[in-house]
Amino acid sequence: MTGDAADALTCTGLAYAFGATNAVDGLDLTVRQGEVFGLLGPNGAGKTTAIRCVTTLLPVPAGMVRVFGHDAARDQMAVRRLLGYVPQQLSADAALTGRQNVALFARVFDVPRRERAERVRQALAAVGLADAADRLAGTYSGGMVRRLELAQALVSAPRLLILDEPTIGLDPIARTGVWEHINAVRAATGMTVLVTTHYMDEADQYCDRVGLMHRGRVRALGTPAELRQGLRERLGADALPTLEDVFRAVAGSGLDEKSGEFRDVRSTRRTARRVG
């Protein structure tokens, strides 16, 4: 389980505390190569902290994080070369054009000068910003900024693309647009995508597998269909519950490890493992 280079990402017993608050509390997580993995959870579940440990922004005080076999605590530069990262904030530089924003990331990933312009052009075209490339990013809409950030992350051909709440604060059309571009690029490049979100409908529609995170750990894991089917079996309901129902069952009742709920989650997890 540790250090299997065949997996894009493995976290084993990852823990991170801010003072007395255990933001991430023994996280075990495996993201397989080529899949779109959704890390779901309410605000404060520890998703962003976990992502920041994976991206080397935070140290790994306890446990192990490996990206394609590289230890995120020791071999940070190797890990960073494999990552594309889009943080939660809309973080393009408003005082630069779209093209300049992407070109900066081509440069800091050591793209050779002779292919820089073409690579930047391809990244911008991949997210549908070819026509707006020479406008200042400050004039972009929220959805366009998100797509620009996607281009910034894609220009270095990352093997693992990490998106932290990529559609937060976007209108429904922009949300769909962002996801369509993520999907198209994934289909074309075969890269692995790790995405956090609290929009259950998006996770249901776009993620191959999801992990429901609550209080610093993954409490349920599987394909969206497996998780929904698992809850249906447990409740004996006729209608297939939504992922949001699953989420509520996992997170809604302030569960802890000793509660009955957790055993149920574990059985869901076993089901997930059997099926997947």
Binding site: L58, A117, R121, Q122, A125, A157, A188
Partner: protein, 284 residues
């Protein structure tokens, strides 16, 4: 597309959907070339930003112009400051170059906190860029901005009739002194940013240190007129060494250039080391 691709894609018919290059990760650059490449990238960004919006360039020219015009002209008439025979406005000009460069650099801590809050810094930290290269890049970028500022002040001074050197070698030395000084002060600011972690607190610190640094230096008056304790302050203040070098190079006044450049280089190196070691705190 304005830039022609050096390696045209094979199937140009469907050029917009060709993602060929995005399948291939770029190779790593050899270690010794990484630092200059990152410095160049971050300086290029600084110049690109200035090319889109020159407002800052113009507004920042106002203050040094007023110093030279009002303070400089008035004190030239008063003749209260012993300058060793140099007209006071001449004596003042190099000090104002150093001052305006410092005022730009001292804002870099605020900028880096702003970039942290906006997520821009985090994205850069998740690239194969060592912390020290990122800080060095920022330090040199502030130097580039300061150089433009220095050109503005030199032009204003020339218009006011200050007899400056036009020797290209000396001007290169001026550029080096400006860049090294900016590197130190921007790193000082980024170091404080790494300690206080918030923009509001840093604003307070910035206000609290810029004036003492300026008045506790030889920018406005020579060391000899200062009381003993202020001379001591001035002697550990890198701004004094920067002003001494600028004065020596631009006006030909006696200066200890070797000492000046050594102090500036060591100060810049220490600043880069301190700011780099604290950068991780900003990302948390």
């Amino acid at each position: 597309m304005s830039e022609a691709p050096a390696a045209p894609p094979a199937a140009s018919a469907d050029r917009d959907h060709d993602l060929g290059l995005l399948l291939r990760p770029p190779g790593a650059r050899p270690g010794w070339r990484l630092l200059p490449a990152r410095i160049a990238a971050l300086c290029a960004v600084e110049l690109q930003k200035l090319s889109h919006d020159r407002t800052e360039l113009y507004t920042r020219a106002v203050q040094p112009a007023l110093w030279l015009l009002i303070f400089g002209q008035t004190f030239t008439r008063i003749k209260a400051i012993p300058t060793g025979g140099t007209p006071y406005v001449d004596y003042l000009a190099p000090g104002i170059i150093a001052q305006s460069a410092m005022f730009i650099a001292i804002f870099y801590g605020i900028q880096i906190i702003w970039e942290r809050d906006a997520g821009v810094l985090n994205k850069l930290l998740v690239t194969p860029t060592p912390r020290s290269a990122l800080i060095t890049g920022k330090a040199f970028a502030s130097g580039v901005k300061a150089l433009i500022q220095a050109v503005v002040v030199i032009v204003i001074a020339a218009v006011l009739g200050v007899a400056l050197t036009w020797n290209p070698l000396r001007l290169l030395g001026v550029a080096a002194a400006v860049v090294l000084g900016s590197a130190f002060f921007s790193c000082l600011s980024m170091t404080i940013a790494g300690i206080v972690l918030s923009r509001d607190r840093l604003m307070g610190f910035g206000q609290a240190i810029t004036m003492p640094l300026f008045f506790g230096s030889n920018a406005l008056y020579p060391l000899s007129v200062m009381p003993g304790w202020l001379q001591a302050v001035s002697k550990v203040n890198p701004l004094s060494y920067q002003v001494d070098a600028l004065r020596g190079l631009l006006l030909g006044t006696p200066a200890q250039l070797a000492t000046d450049f050594a102090v500036l280089a060591v100060a810049a190196a220490l600043g880069i080391a301190a700011a780099s070691s604290l950068l991780g705190r900003l990302a948390r």
